[in-house]
Every structure is written in C-alpha cells, then in structure tokens.
C-alpha cells in the first residue's frame, strides 16, 4: 500500500434524475468516445511527460531551463487531466500526491523545510519517500524547489538534488500506475456494457458529467475564486502556481480540457454542441485577453473586475451549457449536495 491513508473506491455516480433517462445503451457511442479519445490519451500523455520529467531530473537536477521545461510539460499534462478525479486517480491518494493544492495552511513549505532541515534520508528510497508528508510530494511541491528562492538555496545542493529526484521519480511511478489502471481495469468498467462499480449506464454518465461539472466548479471557485478573495480583501498571493507564473495558464488548460469533454458529451446534438462551443469560446477569449498571468491585478478594482468577468463566463457555462448536457444525459445535481441542513 502506498500510504496509510486510504480512499475507498465505492463509486460513484452523479445523481440520476427521475424518469426519462432513456434506454440502456442509448449513449454507448458517447461513453466510448469519451473513454477512448478524452480520458485514455490524457493519462497516457501525463505518464509520458512524467517519464521525461524524471529523465530530465536524472540528467541534471539543478533548477535550470531544461528541468523547468520538463516539469512545466508534465504539469500541463496533469492540469489537462485533473478534472478526471475518479477511479485510478483516487486510489491510494494518488491525485493528492501529485497535486497538493490548495494549501491554505502552508503545509507544503513546512514539510519541505522539515525534510531539508533534517536531511531526511527518505529521499534515498522510493518506498520511503511515499511515506513522507503528502504535502512534500508532487508538482506543487516541486515548484517550490524550482522557483522559490527560499528553497532553491536551502540545505546542501546534494540534498536538494536527491529531494528533487525523489519527487520526480514518485511522480513518474504514480502517473504510470494511474495510466496502467485506466487501461487494465477502469476503461473496461465505463465502456459499454457498464461493469465493476457501475450498475448501469446512468451511473457511468453521472460520473462523466460530474467530471465536467466539478471541473468547471474547481476552476471558477478555486483557481479564480481563491485569488479574488472578497472585494474588500483580494488575495493575489493565493493564486495557483504563481511562483512559476502559471496561474492563468492553468485556467486556460482546464478550459480547453473541459471544452473537449463538453463537446464529446454533447454527442450528435449539433445545437447543443454549438452552444457548448460558444460558451467555452467566450470564456477562453476572456482568458486570452486577460494579460495577467498570476492574477496580480485582483489587488485593484478594475483588475479584479476583469477576473470576475472571466469567472462569470465560466459559471455561465456551468449553469447553462453544462446543465443542458446534463439534461441530454439525464443527470443533475445531488439531492443532499444541493440543499443541505
């Protein structure tokens, strides 16, 4: 077992709307398209880019352009797959070990400082490294080691090198395990006819629709909402991956990935597809025009307003186009989630 904390994989569906969901098999083509052309290529690309990252770190572990570029490419691949948070990514907390963010209480810098201060020998052994704080693993922790002055000079060069290689090796093994599980088991569960944890097609569609809906929510609420803070108290320093200047890039990558999923879930409904494209294009144009890579502009009212307009465009996709996709597939928001007490 990777680490003591475990997540049980009892799946999982979004919520089935009462009747009219259609007949079993009605959406076979949609599900097959999403699995084969959206999900599998993303996890293959992630594993491949992570292998290249580890190779780059083994070749030269100093935080220079070559390592940064390899890290950036692998991180891009993760962000482009990070809305697919079910099944293989959730086993053994793999997703959190790749991406410990948001880190509201600063656990990542604390955990890295502790490892370096103690010259913790866990970095010498792959299995031992899986047992260190999950906050010290993955792409976001690596960003500190590559871009943050406090860490690029902390401890000895030899220890920093060993730590960076422990991180890249762990990322490589984790992403390979995810890709392998997808190919060997989980793709088969989703593909028609539904099997494994999925009782029927509705549960499969609920899972896929949930990835779209929750992906939009995460980008709006977390990637944009965290730095926006409140009007009276904007929080630019909470922007994602701001040390490497990647905050806006992550929004753009996630929108591109979610658009691809949204298009595929629209299936052969041309009108819906056109709506989905228009909704995403609006948001993508706003993001492209923002010219504020780490949302530093949220500190003044006009800069904040521009980020807020982008956020509203993403919320609009969720409320309109995604809701229409949900209606096509016969799935909607949760009974308890919608209205708790």
């Amino acid at each position: 077992m990777r680490r003591p904390l475990r997540t049980a994989l009892i799946p999982l569906a979004f919520v089935l709307m009462p009747p009219g969901a259609g007949q079993a098999g009605e959406f076979d083509a949609t599900v097959t398209d999403v699995v084969e052309n959206h999900i599998l290529p993303r996890f293959d690309a992630l594993a491949e880019a992570s292998e290249a990252l580890d190779a780059a770190a083994l070749a030269d572990c100093t935080p220079g352009p070559a390592l940064k570029e390899a890290w950036g490419a692998a991180f891009d691949a993760w962000i482009s797959a990070s809305h697919l948070r079910f099944g293989p990514t959730e086993a053994d907390n793999r997703a959190f070990s790749l991406a410990f963010w948001p880190d509201s209480r600063g656990a990542t810098p604390k955990a890295l400082s502790a490892l370096i201060a103690d010259s913790d020998p866990a970095v010498e052994n792959a299995e031992d490294f899986t047992q260190v704080s999950i906050a010290a693993q993955g792409f976001y922790a690596l960003e500190y080691m590559l871009y943050d002055d406090q860490f690029t000079g902390m401890g000895t060069p030899a220890y920093r090198c060993a730590l960076i290689r422990a991180m890249t090796g762990d990322i490589e093994r984790t992403t390979l395990a995810i890709a392998s599980d997808w190919h060997e088991t989980w793709a088969g569960y989703l593909l028609p006819p539904p099997s494994g944890p999925y009782r029927d097609e509705d549960e499969v569609l609920g899972e896929l629709f949930g990835a779209l809906s929750q992906g939009l929510q995460f980008t709006s609420d977390t990637r944009l909402g965290r730095p926006m803070g409140t009007f009276d108290r904007p929080r630019a320093t909470r922007a994602e991956a701001r040390r490497s200047g990647r905050s806006l890039r992550h929004v753009e990558l996630s929108l591109a990935a979610l658009r691809d999923l949204g298009e595929r879930l629209s299936g052969d409904d041309a009108e819906l597809l056109a709506q989905v494209d228009e909704g995403f294009q609006t948001a993508q144009d706003l993001a492209a025009d923002l010219d504020d890579p780490i949302f530093a502009g949220v500190d003044d009212p006009s800069g904040r307003l521009r980020v807020e307009i982008l956020q509203q465009a993403i919320d609009h996709i969720r409320e309109q186009e995604a809701a229409n996709i949900g209606a096509r597939l016969g799935v909607g928001a949760g009974f308890n989630a919608l209205d708790g007490d």
Binding site: P4, L5, L12, V15, F100, G206, R238, F335, N336, G340
Partner: protein
C-alpha cells in the same frame, strides 16, 4: 411489505400483541427520511443491510427521526422550518400521533427521548425572540406539550441523550425567521455552542469554540457508549479558510478538533452534513454531500485515517464493523473500517435524505 403490514395489522386487531416491541416492526435497524421517485416524501425503516422494511408517507420533506427507546414508535420530524412531527407506529404503518409546534415555534428536524421513554425533547426556534428552546412532550398522554426550556443558544439543531440520561444540545448559532425562509440573519455575531443539560432540562455547562471559529455552526451530534460526543460543523465563512468540521468533546474538558490536511480538507467544502461514531468511540465519521466524501478520523489523535468517495453521501450511522452510509442517489453502503472496503451495498429508488438514524 404490504403483506407484512397486513399480517401485523391483523395480529394487532386480534389482540395478539399486547406488549408491542421493536421486534414486531421487523426489527428495523435504521430510520431515514427520503424522497420517493414520484417526488413524495417518506419515512423509511431499513434493516441492518439497507433493505427497506417499511415506508410511511410524510406531508413534506423530512429530516431526521427519533426512535422510542422501547416502543416500536418513531417520531419523524419535518425539515426546518417545519412545524409538524409524526409519531409512526412502525408495526402497522399508522400515524399514532401528530405533533404541531406551538405558535411562534418551529422544529429543527431532530429530537430525543428521555431514558425511560416518558418524555420527548425537541429543539425549536422561538423566532420572535431569536432564541432556541427545547420543547418537552409527554408520551403517555399522546404526545402533549408539557413544558419548554431554554436551549442555551440560538438555532438549536440536534439533541442527544447521554448515557447518564442527561442531554447534549448543538446550538448552531444561526438565527432564522420563517418570514425570511432559511436566510441566515446574524452571521456577524453568531456564537454556536454545545450545551449540556440535566435529564430535567436545566443547563449544566456549555462549550464554546474560540472566537475565530464563531462562524463554524455546530449542527449534528453523535455519541460513543461511554459518552464521548462527536460534533459536526458547517462553516459559514470563506470556504478556503474553513477550520475543522469535526470536534470531539467530553463535558468539562477541552474539545479535540479533527481535520485532514490541505486539499483533502478542502474537498469537504466547509460542510459536514452528518456525523457518526463507532460504539467504542475510536472512530468518528463526517459526510460531505457537496464533496461526495466521507472522512473517518481517529478520535484519540484527530487524524484522518480513511475516506470513502460516494456521490451525494450524507446519512451516516455506525454499523457492524464500521459505518453505514446513505446517499441521495439511493445507495446504502456498509463500510468496514477494518478492511477499508464496503462489506455490502444496497440500492434503492429512494433518495436518502440527510440523516440515517440508528435504532437501539
């Protein structure tokens, strides 16, 4: 189901069952409110493996229920700001009595019986005064209103009977008024607390969290056999600043707060919908339907030990070997904390509502 009810009704009519007990109701292990596929609301009795044993119509959306300690009788409460509660005879399916909250009060959806089953205690809102009260109802006289005592705070939501027969109340701290629906009227000044009261309803002591957590509404309660109280909270502030959503407390001591690290905590989205604790008090679980997640903590250290991903999971109760989880998509899951797997799963057309109430 119908045949069982018909059979039992026949037995009753024949006077064959002079001393009704829970066993005659098919021994339901749990009660839960639900929404049926036709959109109507129900109170359901479930067996230990999540199969529906009986279902009773409710006039509106339910919330939680209180099972009488000895009689096969359950009180199903309306969801706040509801004003009705129905006493259901779980053998016959008949409504044995109906409670209506007095003028100027509404229920919060929870209640607890006294140890001898003679009295029922119900958290209520005295909404003109903006204060919480606990209504006291006499069971023998057909659930007549006999008294009312202060709850010790605003927005009393859940109440549990402690092993010594006294009570603990979760005063959520949020003021609402039926004229404003479920709108929250006092967030800047809210002060939730846990209030311990004697078996007769007089306030004995209170626990308040530190000032910086005043936006953490204490809503739901669970109990171990030896009286450790687990309380679940709902954060009313910035979601990314959300503190712990689970606390553990013994009267007179400092509370222990339990939360996961970083994004694993954020995955709960600042919201715990239900709480349960195993009988030994070693593990406590909270659910977040918004996050589709149940997190299980070690009650001695406050550390996260396991989590279960289940869409729209909310209802929680302890069960053999671990916890039982219900969801808004009709799943009932027996989760074994020893093996870290689901022991069994049941599927239903019912959308299970917020709480799964264990009987006995």
């Amino acid at each position: 189901m119908t045949s069982r009810r018909t059979f039992l009704a026949g037995m009753l009519a024949a006077g064959a069952l002079p001393t009704p007990t829970w066993a005659e109701a098919g021994d339901p292990a749990f009660l839960s409110a639900a929404r049926a596929p036709d959109g109507a609301y129900r109170l359901c009795g479930l067996d230990a493996r999540g199969q529906v044993l009986f279902q009773q119509p409710l006039p509106a959306r339910g919330h939680a229920a209180a099972a009488h300690p000895t009689r096969p009788e359950a009180v199903a409460f309306a969801r706040r700001p509801g004003t009705f509660a129905l006493v259901v005879d779980c053998r016959s399916g008949q409504i044995a009595a109906r409670l209506d909250s007095p003028e100027g009060r509404h229920f919060y959806g929870h209640g607890a019986f006294s140890a001898d089953g003679a009295l029922l205690f119900t958290p209520e809102n005295d909404y003109e005064a903006g204060q919480g009260v606990i209504g006291v109802w006499d069971v023998a006289s057909g659930y007549s209103r006999v008294d009312e005592v202060p709850s010790g705070g605003v927005g009393p939501h859940d109440i549990l009977r402690l092993p010594d027969g006294s009570f603990v109340v979760a005063n959520g701290g949020i003021e609402t008024h039926p004229d404003a629906g479920r709108a929250k009227l006092n967030l800047p000044v809210m002060r939730p607390n846990l209030t311990y009261m004697s078996a007769a309803g007089s306030i004995r002591s209170q626990m308040e969290l530190p000032e910086e957590m005043h936006l953490n509404s204490i809503r739901h309660l669970a109990l171990s056999d030896d009286g450790l109280v687990a309380f679940a909270m709902q954060w009313q502030g910035d979601e990314y600043e959300a503190p712990a959503l689970l606390g553990l407390h013994r009267e007179g001591q400092e509370p222990l707060l339990a939360m996961a690290e970083g994004p694993m905590h954020d995955a709960m989205q600042g919201y715990a919908g239900s709480v349960a604790m195993d009988a030994a008090g070693t593990r406590a679980a909270i659910s977040s339907p918004r996050g589709g997640l149940v997190q299980i903590f070690d009650t001695a250290t406050g550390a996260l030990v396991e989590q279960v991903a289940e869409a729209d999971a909310c209802g929680l109760s302890c069960g053999a070997g671990g916890f039982v989880i219900t969801s808004g998509i009709g799943h009932v899951i027996g989760y074994d904390t020893g093996s870290g797997r689901s022991d069994w799963q049941a599927a239903s057309e019912m959308q299970w509502d917020n709480h799964l109430v264990r009987i006995g």
